[in-house]
């Protein structure tokens, strides 16, 4: 085993350099741990499924111009008819919102209309009987809406639907010990009950922000077509036809009626774009943190290489003397590696405390989760390995110092 005591004694003669390397390791560990944790959290968000089959899906956000809210019903009907007949289209629906759209409508779902607090919030998608096939949502119990159940109503005149389809997550929240199928719930605070006629495996709410995390997979489908100025069309293309209908569908709609607008950046989007836009900041932050981590590790490694090289240069004569007195190359190499390990351990101990401290502070400031100790442990190992890797080159150079150096320039 290597002798640690002489190394510690020697380090005392290089207090400044030792402290600087330890400090750098500590700060790097603190930031890298937290950055990796943020990356993992963000990536976790953006890999959440929507519950839809996302390929071959086109979303068009439509806004009528100068049409009375009540008069849009026939226009939407005619749009839907035209879209469903368009070459390359598998199916299409008109809906108030869809997963990851951004804006939408949420309501509190209750067992009892008089209950003060709802059991859960849930997003409402007002759709027709083509919704499940267009979205590609999987019905796991009960049945789909029938076409005779669909009602057309102005948005401000919507009253709770008698039949609803809900997601499994919402069903589990409402009835933890069984299924909500066939049960009666209240989706508004009026006394109008809704019967759950079907349960879909999964559907996500329109929002991707953290505020909706508590009900991110609680969705209610209602057999209603809302008339009004705003609305979206979800269109499923036949395989390989997505690019074609992305061009033809908006043209068809404008030909059908030109008094409409598609918003500039959210008007006509493939679902791939919808997803990219919804998670843009999550992806961006993850990317930023990744770049910062990589640069930090590189800079810390460079700092270690620089300072150790300097020490090796300073101690060439001492190394020569040790070699002349019988130390092997291996001993010299071991000396520098151990020295770095000691500094590294001091650095990671401080760094781990700092990482936890920073995280605790961030928890209070930014509604973040607690740092998992796995990240600290992984960071500690990574930085110790980085230190050893960085010190290797100068240490090897030191080990090649010839014993003759001892005799030079004395």
């Amino acid at each position: 085993m290597l002798h640690i005591k002489p190394i510690v004694v020697a380090l005392k003669r290089h207090k400044a350099g030792t402290v600087l390397i330890a400090l750098q390791i500590a700060l790097t560990l603190a930031i890298v741990c937290n950055a990796l944790f943020i990356i993992q959290q963000r990536i976790g968000r953006l890999s959440r499924p929507t519950g839809m089959v996302e390929s071959n899906l086109l979303a068009i956000q439509n806004r009528w111009v100068g049409v009375d809210d009540n008069a849009t019903g026939p226009l939407i009907k005619s749009d839907l008819q035209a879209l469903r007949q368009l070459a390359g289209v598998e199916d299409a629906i008109s809906t108030n919102s869809f997963p990851l759209r951004g804006g939408g409508w949420s309501m509190g779902v209750r067992h009892d209309p008089d209950a003060k607090k709802p059991v859960s919030s849930a997003a409402i998608y007002a759709v027709d009987d083509h919704a499940l096939s267009t979205m590609g949502a999987k019905l796991i119990a009960g049945r789909n809406f029938r076409s005779d159940e669909i009602v057309w109503v102005e948005q401000k005149a919507y009253a709770a639907s008698p039949q609803i389809i809900i997601t499994k997550a919402l069903s589990d929240k409402l009835y933890p010990n069984g299924s909500a199928l066939g049960k009666t719930v209240y989706i508004t605070d009026t006394a109008r009950p809704s019967t759950v006629i079907g349960i879909v495996e999964h559907l996500q709410v329109p929002w991707s922000g953290t505020w909706s995390d508590s009900f991110s997979d609680c969705v209610v489908l209602v057999p209603t077509q809302l008339t009004g100025n705003f609305g979206s069309y979800l269109i499923r293309s036949k395989p390989g036809q997505l690019a074609a209908i992305t061009a033809t569908a908006p043209r068809l709609l404008i030909k059908n009626n030109r008094l409409r607008t598609f918003s500039r950046d959210r008007g006509v989007r493939t679902f791939e774009t919808v997803r990219a836009q919804a998670y843009k900041s999550d992806r961006g932050i993850a990317l930023l943190m990744g770049v910062v981590c990589a640069m930090l590790l590189a800079i810390t490694a460079a700092g270690i290489v620089g300072l150790t090289s300097f020490w090796v240069g300073q101690r060439r004569r001492q190394i020569g003397v040790r070699r002349a007195l019988g130390a092997t190359r291996h001993d010299i190499l071991g000396y520098f590696l151990t020295e770095n390990l000691l500094i590294g351990i001091a650095g990671v101990v401080i760094g781990a405390l700092l990482a936890i401290g920073i995280n605790l502070w961030m928890v209070t400031q930014f509604e973040m989760a607690r740092l998992s100790m796995t990240y600290v442990a992984a960071g500690v190992v990574a930085l110790l390995l980085l230190g050893q890797g960085a010190v290797l080159a100068p240490a090897l150079r030191a080990s090649r110092v010839s014993p003759v150096e001892a005799t030079r320039s004395v």
Partner: protein, 435 residues
């Protein structure tokens, strides 16, 4: 002497190109990361209307009660009933209720498609309150508000597009199939954060293109294009909704001095108390009056991403500096014999200080130049992390360029203090002897 030390510094940097490159890169990356994130932070936390931010107040009246409100805070928006009561009372010198409406300009040319434009429904006071600059004409007045008149104020951009830049005051613009008479054309006006409607825009949006009278918009039953929040089912139809407790209106009052602000707060309190007596509010008056900066704080318009990335970048810069201290120490101490000779030949500690700090400053300058380049790249990449409405605000302007260089040089010189002090401590006799 300065020029000579600069020359020496440059020569010394050339002697250890790898070490120099390491330092320059550390400083460059650290400064660039900090400056890029700082530009976003600065853009999102700036005061959108500095000359009047202490005179404009956002009004909150708790019409939901403690049960439905968030930690005792009144809702961020007003319902129609309260907004209209405050407008009618007219207790501030100027005031406006406002909300965003989804409106499209319908071109005369039948072959052209309508285009959606960012539009707000306000009262005529809004233009004077928000210091809206006019290129032609002006806003509308109280008479038009009272008459629910079909008038509009349009932006310069829209005027250029529709009227090829000609003075369009008095001409008609077709919004959603209805004609409005243009009373004024705004000059370029783009306050960011969009303080008067930070609730619906989260603070940032593209510039407003059209204003129309609030009274007109309500008469035409234009629903809000922003958020509408209800604590109870509003009932069926437009009128039920209008008279419900659903909140969707922003309300601003201009109160030029403290006394008027105090008086207005008292008035609000009195109004809420009256509503309580009438049985509409079943809770004690809970009202807020926040000036622009307080309102921006309350709504947290600075995105958490901007804060987190600025903090991470500053931590990054700190590490880069610690790294630079270490590398400079190595570099300077390697030249201990040289320092010994200089000192022995009569150089004072002070001149050693000067020489090494100047050498460090040259490293800082080089790092700053690299940092500037990287900041430019960084600002271009802001769009990867932030929404386009925020990304467009982050720009590499002259003050940011100056700040980047300044931060680079200052922080490097700061980092150089300790290594320089060590260099100045070199004992000439000991150095000469040991060589």
């Amino acid at each position: 002497m300065f020029a000579y030390y600069l020359q020496l510094g440059l020569r010394s940097l050339q002697r250890n190109p790898v070490l120099t490159a390491l330092m320059v890169m550390a400083i460059g990356f650290g400064v660039a990361a900090s400056m890029t994130t700082y530009s976003v932070f600065l853009a999102t936390s700036s005061n959108p209307i500095p000359q009047k931010s202490s005179q404009l107040y956002a009004v909150q009246v708790d019409n939901w009660g403690p049960e439905d409100s968030d930690k005792g805070e009144p809702p961020d928006s007003l319902n129609y009933t309260d907004a209209m009561a405050l407008m009618a009372a007219h207790r501030a010198p100027r005031q406006t209720a406002l909300y965003p409406v989804g409106v499209s300009v319908v071109p005369d040319d039948q072959s052209q498609l309508p285009s959606p434009e960012s539009t707000y429904a306000t009262y005529g006071d809004a233009f004077a309150m928000f210091d809206v600059p006019f290129l032609h004409g002006s806003g509308w007045g109280a008479a038009e508000d009272d008459a629910h008149a079909a008038v509009a104020v349009i932006s310069r951009v829209l005027n250029d597009k529709l009227f090829r830049g000609a003075n369009s005051v008095g001409r008609q613009i077709n919004l959603d199939g209805r004609n409005y008479r243009i009373t004024g054309v705004m000059d370029s006006w783009d306050p960011q954060p969009l303080f008067f409607d930070a609730v619906n825009t989260s603070g940032f949006s593209d510039p407003v293109q059209i204003f129309i009278p609030f009274t007109r918009a309500v008469e035409l039953k234009m629903a809000t294009a922003g958020n509408n929040n209800c604590n109870r089912d509003p009932g069926l139809g437009w009128d039920a909704w209008l008279h419900s407790e659903c909140i969707w209106i922003q309300y601003w009052a201009e109160l030029p001095d403290r006394a008027q602000a105090v008086a207005y707060r008292q008035y609000l309190h009195g109004y809420a108390a009256e509503q309580q007596r009438a049985g509409r509010f079943r809770w004690a008056p809970n009202v807020r009056l926040s000036n622009v900066e307080q309102w921006m704080d309350h709504l947290k318009v600075v995105p958490p991403e901007a804060k987190i990335s600025l903090l991470v970048a500053l931590g990054f810069l700190l590490i880069c500096l610690v790294n630079t201290v270490g590398l400079l120490l190595a570099k300077f101490m390697r030249r201990a014999p040289e320092i010994g000779v200089r000192r022995a030949l009569g150089a004072s500690r002070k001149t050693v200080y000067a020489q090494f700090l100047i050498e460090a400053a040259t490293v800082g300058l080089a790092g700053g130049a690299l940092g500037l380049l990287l900041t430019g790249v960084g600002v271009l990449c802001v769009g990867l992390v932030f929404d386009p409405q925020i990304a467009r605000l982050a720009t590499l302007d002259l003050s940011l360029i100056a700040l980047t260089l300044l931060v680079a040089v200052l922080s490097t010189v700061l980092a150089a203090f300790y290594p320089t002090w060590r260099a100045a401590q070199v004992q000439p006799a000991w150095q000469l002897k040991s060589n």
